[in-house]
Symmetry: none
Subunit: 213 residues, 4 copies
DNA sequence: TATGAATGAGTGTTCATTCAT
DNA sequence: AATGAATGAACACTCATTCAT
C-alpha cells in the first residue's frame, strides 16, 4: 500500500510540475488572454481536467506560474552574495546577473508584461511576492550604503530607482526587440549585439553610481 | 450644396476617426488578443460592419492604430528642433520629451508591448515606419556628433543604444508599475514619484553622455 | 432636354443590362445562396443601390436572370426550324444543338441546378416560362409524329421523356464533370472527350428513336 | 464495468453518427453553402462544439458526408454481383439499381450537385474515392466484354460513357424535377411517372447496348 | 487519479438591405 | 438616376469550464 501511495504522490507531483512548465511556456508565448488551456494540457501531456483539479482555473494557474517565476528570480538574486564582494564588483555582478537572467529566462519578461497589462491582478493576490522582493531591495540598499561609505559610490542613490533602471535597460532591450528590429533595422539578438548591449548597460550603471577614481 | 458635401465627407472621415480612436483605447487596454471588436464598435458609436468596411479586419485595424501611434511620436520628435539648442540642453529636452510623451500617451506603450508579444507582425507589414524611425536615429546621431565636437559629450556613443536606454528607463517604469507596486510597495504615479523618476533618469543620461565640466 | 433624357434612358438600360449580366455570372458561379450582391454590383460597375432599384431584391434578381436564361434557350430552340428537315436530320440537329447550347452557355446548367436546389421557387413565380416551354414540347412532339408517319421513327415515343433524356445525357456530363474527374480520373473537357461524348449521345438517341433501315 | 465502457464508447460513436446523419440531411437540403452548422447541431441533438471536435470544420464535415455517400453507393454496386447473371439481365439490374438508389437516397444527388458547384474541392482531397470508383468501372467494363463475347451486346461500347449515361438519365430526371414541373407542367414523382421513366430509361439503355435478337 | 465527452457564452466576420443625400 | 454610409441579424468557429464515468 505504502509504495503505491508514494508512487501516486510522485506521479501527482510530476503531473503538477508538467502542467506548470507547460503553462509557463504557453502563457509566456501568448500572454494570459492568448494562452489556451487545451494547449497547456496537450503540452503537459495531461488531461485538461487535471489542470482544474490542481490549479482551480486559468487565473489561478497563471498566478501559480507567475509566483514561481518571481520566486525563482528572487532566489537567484539572493544567491549572488553581493556583500562578499567589493562594492563596484558587486554592482557589476548585479548588472550582469540581471541581464543574464533575462536572457536565459525569456519567459519571465513576457509573463511580467502580460501581468502588467492586467494591472497585476494575479500578483496582488499573492502572499509571498512582496516579502521576498523587499529582501532584494534591502540587499541593493545595503550595497549602496556600503559603497558610499567606502567612498566609491555616490551617496544618496535610491535603491528602488536603481533597481528599476538596472532592470529597465536590459528588459526593454529584450522585450521590444521585435518592434526595434523594424524601426531601427538592427538585429538585437546576435552575440555581438548582446555583448555590446551589456557593455553599454554596464557603462550606464557604473557612471550613474560610481564616483570617478 | 458645398456644406452638404462637406458634411457627408466629414461623416465618413469622422466615423473612421472615431473607430481608430476607440480601437486605440481598446487595444491599449486589453492588448490585441484581448480587445473586442464589439467593444470598439460600441465605443466608436459605429456599426461593427463599418470597422470591416473601413479597415478590413482586426489585424489591419490594429496595424492602422499602431502606425498612427508611431507616426505621432516620430512626428512629435521631429518637432523638437534639437539642432537649435546647445547639445546638453538638447539632450535634456529629448529625455524630458520622451518621458512626457509616454505619460501623456499611455496607450503607446501598451500597444507596443502587445505588438512585441506578437513579434511585430503588424508593424513588419507597414511601409512607412522604418523610414520615419531612421530620421529619428539620424537626429540623435547628429546631436551626439555635435556634442562630441563641442567637447561636451563623450565621443563614440552609439545613437541607437542611447535611444534604447532613454526609452527604456521611462517606458519600463510606466509599463511595469503594476507589478512594481506589488513587489516594491511603492506608488509609481504620484506627482512626487513621477518627478523623482524624471530627475533620476535625467541624471542617468547626463552622466552617461556628458563629460564632466 | 430631350437628348439628355434619351441618354439617361439609355444609361439606365445599360446599367440594367450590366447588372443582369453580372448577376448571371455570379449566380452561375456560386449558386443563389453563395452569390454576393456586392460582387454583382462590383462586376456590373454599378452601385449596389441600383440593383435594389431595378430588381427589388436578390430573389427577384435571380428570377430575372433565370427567366432570361430560359427565354434565351427556348428562343434558340424555336429558331432550329426542325420542320424544314427530314425527321432523322431534325432529330440529330436537336441533339447537337442541345449539346452545343450547354457547352456555350455553361451558366445555364448551374443556374438550373441552383434553382432546383430551391425547388424552383423563383421559376414558379414566372409567368412566361411555362408557355414558351410548351411550344418546345409541341415542336418535338410534332417531329416525333412526323417521323413515325414517315416510317423512320418508332411510334409511341413520349416527347417529354425524350426531351428529358436528350437534355440529361448532355447536362449531366457537363455539370458532374468535377466529381467525375475524381471518380473516373478522366478529363471531361478536352476537345476529344467532348467530341466522343457527342457521338455517344447521338448514337444513344438515334438507337432510341429511329427504326433500323 | 464492461458495459459502462461500451456505453461510453457508444455515446461518442453515436454522437458522431448523429452529426453525420444530420449533416447529410442539412447539406442535401441546402447545399454546402446554404447549410447551417447550428442546424446540424440541433438536428443531431449535439452541441455545436462537438462538430468541430469530431470533424474539424464545415468543409471537413462535408467531405466526411460526401465520402460516406460515395462509399455507400459504391459498396451497394459491388453487392450487385452482376457476373452471376446473364449479360442482359445484369445490365437491366444495373439500370434498375441505379434508379432505385437515387430514389431511395435523394440526398446523394443533391450532395453531388453541391460538390460540383464547388468544383469537387472536397472530393479531391479524399483518398478512398478514386480507388473504389475504379472498381465499379471495371465491373461494368467486364460486363460489356462478356456481353459482347456472348454476342448479345454490341462490341466497342465504352464503360465510362455507358456509366455516365445510365446515371444521367435517372439523376437528371430527379434533380431537375422542380424546374421540370414548371416547364413541362408534369408531376415527376407520382408512382406512374416514376415507373414510366424507369421503363423509358431501360429501353434507352437496352437499345443502346444490346444487339437485336 | 484520471479521462474524454459535453456545453453555453462569446469571437471575428459576413450578408442583404435601407438611409440620407 | 445615382451614391456611399450605415445597419442588424446571422454566420462559422472558439473558449474556459463541467459532467459522467
Amino acid at each position: 500500500m505504502a509504495p503505491r501511495e508514494v508512487t501516486k504522490q510522485r506521479d501527482a507531483e510530476a503531473t503538477k510540475g508538467r502542467i506548470l512548465a507547460a503553462a509557463k511556456t504557453e502563457f509566456a508565448r501568448n500572454g494570459f488572454g492568448g494562452a489556451r488551456v487545451d494547449e497547456i494540457a496537450d503540452r503537459a501531456k495531461a488531461n485538461k481536467r487535471m489542470i482544474y483539479h490542481y490549479f482551480g482555473n486559468k487565473d489561478d494557474l497563471f498566478q501559480a506560474v507567475l509566483e514561481a517565476a518571481y520566486v525563482d528570480i528572487r532566489t537567484a538574486e539572493q544567491k549572488l552574495e553581493l556583500d562578499h564582494l567589493p562594492p563596484r564588483e558587486a554592482l557589476e555582478k548585479l548588472v550582469s546577473f540581471t541581464w543574464d537572467y533575462y536572457l536565459r529566462n525569456p519567459e519571465f519578461i513576457t509573463l511580467v508584461n502580460s501581468e502588467n497589462l492586467h494591472k497585476a491582478r494575479h500578483l496582488k493576490k499573492s502572499k509571498v511576492i512582496e516579502a521576498i522582493s523587499q529582501k532584494f531591495v534591502t540587499m541593493v540598499g545595503d550595497l549602496l550604503k556600503r559603497g558610499a561609505a567606502d567612498g566609491v559610490f555616490r551617496p544618496g542613490i535610491d535603491a528602488v530607482q536603481l533597481n528599476i533602471t538596472i532592470a529597465a535597460i536590459g528588459y526593454y532591450y529584450l522585450t521590444n526587440r521585435f518592434t526595434g528590429k523594424v524601426t531601427f533595422g538592427m538585429d538585437y539578438m546576435t552575440p555581438e549585439a548582446l555583448e555590446a548591449r551589456l557593455r553599454f548597460n554596464m557603462d550606464t550603471i557604473v557612471r550613474l553610481v560610481c564616483l570617478p577614481d
